[in-house]
């Protein structure tokens, strides 16, 4: 019985190809949007996860501090629970780093009579203390240590990434729910149309002794196939998008090359499509009198 039902579902999909193609493209677009949101969220998550590992506070020291003073400050810092490690950056090292960072433009620094940079201490914070509020409080404490001129950390960047991650997470849930509901509605409508177009045939089949399952099954399969094909096309779309971003756009915007792609989601797209497709069909058939 099942081979016949599958065969008749495929036949019906082909017979009503235009309406089905429209549904497939709508599902594709919806799944593409979901994937793009996941893609952005994934990269923001990577950035925010890497932040604690790369995050450090720079404490600029006052000029002409004695070695004892420097050691005292380092010991004070090391004694703090939140601090992973410290590294003293001499004025010479700071200038060397600056020259390396400026690369071709480093000739600007050639004419300097003396090194204008301060000695500093690079302070690495333990991962679990890297949050906007705790970094702020640590930084305030550091400023109170005598011999420290100023404290710097990428406050805005850290805050922005954390805020972006939190709001994107909330937004993606809303977007996922809204688009899933949209996909279900599209398939619901398609299945309803397919059902009404075959109403006469269904009436005959019923009189021949067909069970509700026999009548429903082809529509469930059709909904599933529409969702599956939508998912497969979304994979094609997202791969094209990814290669366009990494190979074409990254020539103009090199930072795009660093973007990571959640390959796992590709396997989920057809599955998400099938689930939403069948769900749409179930709802459509549930409201029909069989």
């Amino acid at each position: 019985m099942l081979p016949y039902i599958i065969k008749s579902s495929i036949k019906s999909l082909y017979k009503e190809k235009w309406i089905n193609l429209l549904s497939i493209f709508t599902v594709t677009t919806s799944l593409l949007i979901i994937t793009l949101v996941a893609f952005v969220l994934y990269n923001v998550k990577i950035a925010s996860d890497q932040l604690p590992e790369r995050f450090s506070i720079i404490a600029y020291l006052k000029d002409n501090l004695s070695q004892e003073d420097e050691q005292r400050i380092i010991n004070t810092l090391k004694s703090r629970n939140e601090i992973e490690g410290v590294r003293l950056v001499s004025k010479e090292d700071a200038l060397k780093n600056l020259k390396e960072t400026m690369k071709e433009a480093s000739y600007i620094l050639e004419g300097l009579d003396e090194n204008p940079l301060s000695e500093s201490i690079e302070i690495r914070i333990k991962k679990n203390f890297v949050s906007s509020s705790s970094v702020k409080s640590i930084s305030e404490d550091l400023k109170k240590i005598s011999g420290i001129e100023d404290v710097y950390y990428a406050e805005k960047v850290a805050e922005a990434i954390y805020t972006l991650k939190a709001s994107l997470q909330n937004m993606s849930i809303i977007i996922f729910a809204a688009i899933s509901a949209g996909v279900i509605f599209v398939i619901y409508s398609t299945v309803k149309i397919l059902f009404y177009r075959r109403k006469e045939e269904i009436e005959i089949i019923k009189l021949l002794g067909a069970t509700k399952g026999f009548i429903r099954m082809p529509f469930l399969i059709e909904g599933g196939i529409i969702g599956f094909l939508g998912g497969v096309l979304a994979i094609v779309g997202i791969l094209l998008f990814y290669f366009a971003v990494t190979y074409r756009l990254s020539i103009v915007i090199p930072v795009l090359k660093a973007l990571a792609f959640p390959v796992e989601i590709l396997f989920f797209l057809p599955a998400i499509g099938i689930v939403l497709g069948i769900l749409g069909s179930v709802i459509a058939l549930g409201r029909l009198r069989l």
Binding site: M1, E201, I204, I205, K206, L207, L208, G209, A210, T211
Partner: protein, 220 residues
């Protein structure tokens, strides 16, 4: 095989069948006659469960209809083969697939379906039309295909609702002969028709309906 006890059916509070009592025995062939609007089609619909009685009891085989659960409707329909005036064939399916559908619904294997459909087409003398589509066939051929579809599942009962209504007199008599052949094999047959020529001298019981009342029974 089929029993009606005080069966009434109403549409919009108007009785279309009033207190009908009759029974048809297993293996019997009978006719149901009366003018248009007498209630013949409604009575048949109560047997193949397109309608439900508002009053009274209907029994079909071992099924007591008023107590029947909705999930069992398909079981009742599987012991009944129905032939309609407008044939009700599916135009986008071939003759073979139209007939095979009855068996596919019952979960038969394709290999068995093939031989069964072939036998059924042989009985109505239309084996050569297996690959044709219904729309390309004459009315008589379509009705024979509909009969082949009705008998392929070896039902206990065949119901025919004005089966010759769209056919010329000669074809109509051929169709009735076909029903007689089916009945000889042991299948109960009930034919609703207003055409008296079909049951004249048939020696079969004829139930007369008028205005929703069963007004009499005679032997044709």
């Amino acid at each position: 095989m089929i029993t009606f006890q005080n069966v009434s059916k109403y549409y919009d509070y108007q009785a279309v069948l009033k207190g009908i009592n009759f029974s048809i025995n297993r293996g019997e062939m009978a006719f149901l006659t009366g003018p248009s609007g007498a209630g013949k089609s409604t009575l048949l619909k109560l047997i193949y469960l397109l309608e439900w009685p508002d009053e009274g009891d209907v029994t079909i085989g071992d099924f007591h209809i008023p107590e029947l659960r909705p999930s069992k409707i398909s079981d009742v329909r599987r012991i009944i083969g129905v032939v309609f005036q407008d044939f009700k064939l599916i135009n986008n399916l071939s003759v073979y697939d139209n007939i095979a559908l009855t068996l596919r619904i019952r979960g038969w294997k394709e290999r068995d379906i093939k031989s069964k459909v072939s036998d059924s087409l042989k009985k109505v003398n239309l084996r050569h039309l297996s690959d044709s589509f219904p729309e390309k066939l004459s009315g008589g051929e379509q009705q024979r295909i509909a009969i082949a579809r009705a008998i392929v599942g070896e039902p206990l009962v065949i119901l025919a609702d004005e089966p010759t209504g769209n056919l010329d007199p000669n074809t109509a008599l051929d169709i009735i002969k076909l029903f007689k052949d089916i009945n000889i094999q042991g299948t109960t047959v009930l034919i609703a028709t207003h055409n008296k020529e079909l049951f004249k001298h048939s020696g079969r019981r004829v139930f007369k309906l008028d205005g929703g009342n069963l007004i009499g029974e005679e032997v044709g």
